[in-house]
Amino acid sequence: MTAEVASPAIETRPGGLWLAFSKNKLSWVGLGLLAAIVLVAIFAPLLAPYDPLEQNIVSRLEPPSAEFWLGTDSYGRDVLSRLIYGARISLVVGFVAILIAMAIGATLGIVAGYIGGLFDQFVMGLLDVMLSFPTLLLGLMIAAMLGASLENLIIAIAVTEIAPFARVARAPTISLKQRDFVEASRSYGSGHLRIMGRHILPNMVSDVVVMSSLWMASAIRTEASLSFIGLGVPPPTPTWGSMIREGFENILDAWWLAVFPSLAILLTVLALNLLGDALRDAADPKSRES
């Protein structure tokens, strides 16, 4: 066995990653945007001018004005307040779904890469099939079968994101398991679980975390799409996707209903994509070059 096996994990030390990340201006734009959206979601009760669920028949479908900055919907509810509360659903669904997908996907990837052989081929073949199925349709089918609720929505989205995490976790595992420190640990009598948990996992965490920002963007897109179709969190809870759906139903006479939640989704996804691109470029200088 050769002493040095090239590993992608070597270049991604946290210090170097941070340096490369902080030099990129776009990464700061993404980080700033995302921080603002997260703060809005956390402090929603303080920021929202009205109760997002409060209906008011007198002020139905009012265009944006000094009183209602972003207008009101067909129940007379304040669009801005609903938008602010809607950020909570998008972020929570995206974050929790990605955490679940990361836990399951990374475990599958590490175990498949570590064991290798037929098991590896079987698991990766299965995941390839999942990967080739359109994310939105897979989520749609699962959500439709399980029924519309917050938990089911999270499960459906998590399932669609497992395969990419497994792929990213598997590649470094294959090179890590042949490294000297793993060999050394094995010679001390470490079991397989200990080697995977103590030696392989910490060395590839950065690869997985770097990609999670990009996939959270995809998860939030899927959430919005499913809510738009009516498979998301049931009303009256405000979600951006369901707000757009309502706006779509009133599209001829109330443009503001669809436009503002659309922009909110766009900004959030854009922020995560900027952040994710910057993180990936910082972690892998090759992708920055090309």
């Binding site: 359109p134 939105l136 349709l137 799409s225 498979l231 757009i244 599209i251 854009l270």
Partner: protein, 312 residues
């Protein structure tokens, strides 16, 4: 070439089997069972039992599984519960319209994505490179239904350039006008993907020695890019078009709903709303088959573009 084609076709069989099994399991995960979903909460025990027998749900799992596989392989996907027509008929009726949309958006994606990607790679870090990067960032960030709604508001409702309701007009000009916005909506996303991968592929190829040699031999810039560089950069581009096809079908579901076009999207939404359980299962199977066919075709295209692939 024949051997290569045969091998690829054989590889598609286990993939198809896995997908069908997954769909079989997924459908049986429904809380309650198919019969109670179909008949609703008010159903009597007797009618539930009758439907279970009719659907074969009273059989043991392995018998159901084999019957399911047999049905799929003989092209029998059951009958839609709401319309009573066969699933294959329902799909065949709307499929041309979805394919029309998909092909139009792929054409838009290639028409804009290829030249922009090539230009960005040649003039790297120039203004065109930054513009294409911005377009691809936006294109990859917009959920399809969000961009669709914004386009509908701006171009159809505010400016009145395009009809609000698309659809199947027999008049060719009207038909194209109805197709324009939905195709553009999906085409922008496609452009972003194609542009990104074309730029990366070209950057890779342009530094190769044989490009320098060709340039030294006096090959003109146009011929150099199109004949020497692009042809070798085509494989990742074909991969992206092939991979994106699945996403495209997924996105076309939402786009069809927004632009009110007939197609698989409206069929799925209708099946969801009316809890048309056999139609949903049939649609999943058809999607799975489409995805596998496109993946296989993509692999076959590699062999055509790059003769080296065939001998691996």
């Amino acid at each position: 070439m024949t051997g290569y084609v045969l091998r690829r076709l054989l590889l598609a069989i286990p993939t198809l089997l896995v997908m069908l099994t997954a769909i079989f399991v997924l459908v049986r995960l429904v809380p309650g069972d198919a019969a109670s979903v179909i008949l609703g909460d008010q159903a009597t025990a007797a009618s539930l039992q009758a439907l279970r027998v009719k659907l074969g749900l009273d059989q043991p799992m392995h018998v159901q599984y084999l019957a399911f596989l047999g049905d799929v392989l003989t092209g029998n996907l059951g009958r839609s519960l709401s319309s009573g027509r066969s699933v294959v008929q329902e799909v065949a009726q709307v499929l041309p319209s979805t394919i029309e949309l998909a092909l139009a958006s792929i054409a838009i994606g290639l028409a804009f994505g290829l030249p922009l990607g090539i230009a960005a790679a040649i003039k790297r870090n120039g203004w065109i490179d930054y513009v294409t990067r911005l377009i691809s960032l936006l294109g990859l960030s917009f959920p399809a239904f969000v961009s669709g709604i914004l386009m509908l508001i701006v171009f159809s409702i505010q400016l009145g350039w395009f009809p609000v309701l698309g659809g199947n007009s027999s008049n060719m000009a009207e038909r194209l006008r109805g197709l324009a916005l939905p195709a553009l909506n999906l085409g922008i996303i496609m452009t972003a993907y194609v542009m990104r991968v074309t730029r990366a592929a070209m950057l890779n190829v342009l530094t190769e020695d044989y490009i320098r040699t060709a340039r030294a031999k006096g090959v003109g810039p146009v011929q150099l890019v199109l004949q020497h560089a692009l042809r070798n950069g085509l494989i990742p581009i074909i991969t992206v078009v092939g991979l994106y096809f699945g996403t495209l079908i997924g996105n076309s579901v939402l786009t069809e709903i927004i632009f009110n076009r007939p197609g698989l999207g409206k069929l799925i939404l209708g099946a969801l709303n009316s809890r048309d359980y056999t139609l949903l299962q049939g649609l999943m199977i058809i999607f799975a088959i489409c995805v596998i066919v496109v993946n296989t075709l993509t692999d076959l295209a590699y062999g055509l573009v790059d003769p080296r692939v065939k001998y691996q």
